[in-house]
């Protein structure tokens, strides 16, 4: 049976010398939801939170730095053999390790810079590959200035204009917009010619003076330098990898110890401390009371006082859903919406049943259901994906409804189903072929009927939880209270009476079942005040009537639209059948020689597309049509304190 776990409020007091061991035991027990004692401790008696700086932050940061810079993933391991080392010793070790790594990292950085310079130089001289003069000879010309660079194509066309000027330009390669080349100019004329080339948007490029040889040789030399840089970088990386491999075991131990102590220290901020005493407050599941007391029996200075969960008005008990094996995975959907209040209703069972049922109906096919269940099984057992367990359940539901519909991978005329249902005496009714157009109307009507039943259940739940929480106005006068229920059921009975000719609709029936509940809903606010014995403050009569009239109108619309919303169940039952019949038509099943590829692809397509849509649509029905009637989702989750034992996130 799904319920909300009962909680016990626990007050722990003790001597500060035992604070660390107490916190460690609390985190080890895995069932203590800690609350901050700061606001609760008696300030007059001098209680304060522990403000001491956490000494484990610095080594943890160094560990994080190593992790981020050298791509190290730590593992949580047993660290008992380094437990007695001081924080200073640990810091020293980390500093030394980081220095060893830095040495190679710095060298790698320098080599990377050198690589970048060489690659850039290569990019430049590759454009001058056609040149047959040694760069060094050009660099050492005394009377001639040599300018390498590129000139726009448009400017190159203007060079004939300057035929009388003393310079020589030649290009070695051409791109879309530029000629790459060099111009030579006597030193005496260089100022004038440089100005001309500037005006022609010549982009000068500085060839590093280490470049030597003719164009092709210089390219080769540069390629060699690049290869050397790359080899050096690889060497540094190997050295870094070797250091990390050597230190891995020890780093893991240091990490595990520092992280544990860091978290433990952080927990101290939740405790209130005065002189030599501490005070901690939190919740444990009531079923754990005895075991919890026994954990602290051996620490004599620590005393534990247990109280009912709602004893302290300042603390709201946390929520731990207590679900059965079938409904447990559906708790994910409930948590997604928000947890119930401590005295509220745990809707997980309802969700589990309705979700499984509705999905099965809307996606009814033995083959498809089997695939969904199988995929769910794999996802859960291989990847531990929580959704996998839901898929197992809804896949089985699809298989059951698929069996009732006589559908296997879209084949609806398989004799097996007919023989089976005939043999058990249900041949006239089952299999219920959803592709049969004659069945369309019953399917739609059935869908609405199912929706109406679910709505009535939701309203009843709201009434029960309202009474339990002593929110009588919600339970009695609201649209989801007794008044709303009477009205809604009354209207349904009236409609059935008109269709089936029961003749029970009398003026008295209309007054009692329709008019009176409407009037109660209209006057719900004054009636609530009356029940609470509080004075009701009327505004202006016009405002009161207008507000309540429109709200009442919205309630009525809500009943109709919510009920009609369930038509989608029927819609998807039909669409699933129709989509599969299209697949069968395309595959040419009628001809007796179906195209197997189309059958397989069509089935995969329908499963993928419709499976997703149906899953989302059912969730929508749960949240909008069911939850909105009784569920608030304002509870806070039960999160037991625990020390981190997972790999730290990289920055």
């Amino acid at each position: 049976m799904a319920s909300i776990e009962r909680m016990t409020l626990v007050n722990i007091a003790g001597m500060t010398k035992d604070l660390d061991i107490t916190l460690l035991k609390l985190s080890e027990c895995g069932c203590f939801h800690i609350e901050s004692a700061t606001g609760l401790a008696d300030k007059k008696r001098g209680f304060n939170t522990d403000k001491e700086a956490n000494p484990y932050i610095a080594p943890l940061k160094t560990l994080q730095e190593i992790s981020a810079r050298y791509n190290v993933n730590y593992e949580f391991v047993d660290y008992s053999d380094i437990d007695n080392k001081t924080v200073e010793a640990v810091n020293g070790y980390l500093k030394k390790t980081l220095e060893k790594l830095e040495k190679y990292a710095e060298k790698k950085k320098d080599l990377n810079e050198s690589l970048s310079v060489h690659e850039q130089a290569l990019f430049q001289i590759e454009h001058l590959e056609g040149m047959s003069v040694d760069f060094q000879r050009l660099f050492h010309c005394e009377h001639i200035k040599v300018r390498f660079g590129r000139i726009p194509v448009d400017s190159y066309a203007k060079l004939p204009y300057y035929n009388e000027k003393v310079f020589y330009f030649t290009y070695f390669s051409k791109e879309k917009e530029f000629y790459w080349g060099v111009y030579f100019v006597p030193v005496n004329y260089s100022a004038e010619v440089d100005e001309i080339f500037d005006s022609l948007y010549f982009e000068r490029m500085r060839i590093p003076d280490f470049v030597e040889g003719v164009g092709v040789d210089a390219v080769d030399a540069m390629n060699k330098a690049i290869a050397e840089d790359k080899a050096g970088i690889e060497d540094c990386e190997d050295n870094i990898a070797e250091i990390l491999a050597t230190e891995k075991t020890h780093l893991n131990k240091v990490y595990s110890r520092i992280l544990t102590q860091h978290d433990q220290f952080e927990l101290r901020s939740k405790a209130a401390v005065v002189n030599s005493k501490f005070y901690i407050v939190g919740f444990i599941p009531s079923s754990f009371n005895d075991e919890f007391e026994s954990i602290f029996r051996e620490i004599t200075s620590v005393s534990i006082v247990m109280q009912p969960a709602e004893e302290n008005g300042k603390l709201k008990p946390p929520i731990k859903l207590n679900n059965n094996k079938f409904s447990e995975p559906f708790g994910m959907f409930v948590e997604m919406y928000g947890l119930p209040s401590y005295n509220g209703f745990n809707p997980t069972n309802l969700v589990a049943i309705t979700y499984t049922l509705l999905f099965g109906m809307m996606f009814g096919d033995v083959g498809h259901g089997f695939c969904v269940a199988l995929l769910g099984f794999i996802l859960w057992h291989r990847k531990r994906m929580a959704l996998g367990r839901i898929m197992e359940r809804i896949g089985c539901s699809s298989m059951i409804f698929g069996f009732l519909f006589g559908s296997l991978f879209g084949f609806e005329d398989l004799p097996f189903f007919t023989h089976f249902f005939t043999a058990i005496g249900l041949g006239g009714i089952l299999p219920f072929h959803t592709a049969n157009t004659a069945n369309a109307l019953p399917i739609i009507i059935g869908a609405i009927a199912l929706g109406v039943i679910i709505m009535i259940i939701s309203i009843v739940i709201n009434i029960v939880t309202g009474v339990r929480a002593k929110e009588y106005e919600e339970a009695l006068f609201a649209n989801n209270g007794i008044a709303g229920l009477i009205f809604f059921v009354g209207i349904l009975v009236m409609l059935l009476s008109m269709v089936l000719g029961w003749g029970i609709v009398t003026p008295l029936y209309i007054v009692l079942v329709v008019v009176l509940p409407l009037l109660v809903m209209f006057l719900r606010d004054p009636l609530s005040s009356w029940i609470k014995r509080e004075p009701y403050k009327f505004g202006s009569p016009g405002e009161f009537i207008a507000t309540n009239f429109f709200e009442l109108f919205e309630f009525l619309l809500g009943y109709a639209s919510n009920a009609l919303s369930f038509v989608r169940i029927g819609g998807f039952v039909l669409s699933h059948a129709i989509m599969m019949s299209v697949v069968m038509l395309l595959a040419g099943v009628e001809s007796g020689h179906p195209n197997i590829a189309i059958v397989i692809f069509g089935n995969l397509f329908v499963m993928g597309l419709e499976g997703f849509i149906v899953a989302i649509q059912v969730l929508r029905l749960e949240f909008y049509e069911i939850f909105s009637r009784f569920y608030k989702g304002n509870g806070k989750a039960f999160t037991p304190v625990k020390l981190q034992t997972h790999v730290i996130e990289k920055n």
């Binding site: 448009d154 066309a157 203007k158 204009y161 791109e175 530029f178 022609l200």
Partner: protein, 345 residues
């Protein structure tokens, strides 16, 4: 295929106009403060991405960027006319004559200024289009050099007829009038303008000519203090929306202020007011705004490829001018508001 059947060109032009610079783009551009950022921004705009694809935004010179932007006008024209192979069709050579006239007028300007910098600004990509060597044109230092550079082109005779001024300089205004008249006569003498369908294009071109005349007349009145007779002598001789009495009235205005006052009451003044274009002193920009609106309307409504090409090319050229104005404005440290007042949108 009739030239009027090139519907795909019309559709393409509208699509190309859709990719124009919007107010938000101009805002973004005006907010830039470095040429490299402007170049990078424009390189990501579809209209300029191809022309600017080969540049290095970090090192590009402002002048080169402006040259490349101007080249995008030519690139776009080639793209449009090669789309349905209409380049060789009648009328479409108007861009060639327009480019030639512009370069010759630039040459006249540089010759008179005795400047050798014409070559730096010369768009060499047009060399394939022009009927004369641009290098020779840039080398011209005298009237004789100019005529030699233009030999065997229609411009040789046109310029030969105009004598030098007393100062020995080329007479710019008559040359400009003669060349522009040649351009528009050439356009309007096409057989196409004998047809009924040509009316909207004819109207757009003659309105353009008239607005150019008005802008020139205003400049001559306001900045050069020309006599009405001298102004009249420099007007392009084509009909327009204004009758001769109103034209004369404008040209008789004693100063720029009065010119604007008279212009405000003319046909164009009323249209501009109706279209929300304020007339408050900068008549050159305001009249260009009106030309822009006429061209935009023509592009939106016309199914004629010729009208669409003419209108689109004007709109695109205006956009490029706007961008270069902003680049220049940024260089001189103008505020975003000042920049916006100078662009045509």
């Amino acid at each position: 295929m009739r030239i009027d059947d090139h519907n795909a060109t019309v559709a393409k032009l509208r699509a190309m106009y859709g990719k124009r610079m919007k107010v938000s783009d101009y805002n973004e551009l005006a907010a830039q403060r470095r040429i490299s950022d402007i170049a990078e921004m424009l390189r990501n705009k579809q209209n300029y991405s191809e022309t600017l694809s080969g540049i290095n935004s970090n090192t590009i010179h402002r002048g080169m960027l402006e040259d490349l932007l101007r080249r995008s006008i030519y690139d776009n024209y080639l793209k449009i006319t090669s789309f349905e192979h209409i380049a060789g069709e009648v009328f479409f050579d108007y861009r060639q004559i327009q480019a030639e006239v512009r370069e010759i007028l630039n040459a006249v300007h540089y010759i008179n200024a005795k400047s050798e910098q014409h070559i730096e600004k010369m768009p060499m990509y047009l060399d394939k289009l022009t009927r004369f060597s641009q290098i020779e044109l840039a080398k011209a230092r005298t009237r004789e050099d100019l005529l030699k550079a233009l030999v065997k082109t229609p411009y040789d005779d046109i310029i030969a007829k105009i004598p030098l001024r007393k100062s020995g300089k080329l007479d710019y205004n008559p040359i400009e009038k003669a060349l522009r008249s040649y351009l528009y006569e050439h356009i309007l003498s096409s057989d196409y303008f004998q047809t009924e369908e040509s009316k909207p294009l004819y109207n757009l071109i003659t309105i353009d000519i008239e607005l150019i005349n008005i802008i020139n007349a205003y400049r001559m009145t306001e900045y050069f203090e020309y006599t009405p007779e001298k102004i009249r002598a420099n007007m392009l001789p084509f009909p327009g929306k204004l009758n001769s009495a109103i034209r004369n009235d404008l040209m008789n205005a004693p100063d720029g202020k009065e010119f604007i006052a008279r212009f405000s009451h003319s046909y164009y003044g009323r249209v501009m007011t109706a279209r929300g274009i304020e007339i408050n002193g900068d008549l050159e920009i305001e009249a260009q705004k009106l030309r822009y609106q006429y061209a935009r309307h023509a592009l939106h409504t016309s199914t004629s490829p010729m009208l669409s090409v003419y209108a689109y090319m004007f709109l695109f050229e205006t956009e490029v001018n706007n961008i270069t104005t902003i680049i220049e404005g940024i260089r001189y440290g103008l505020s975003e508001k000042e920049l916006f007042d100078m662009i045509i949108i």
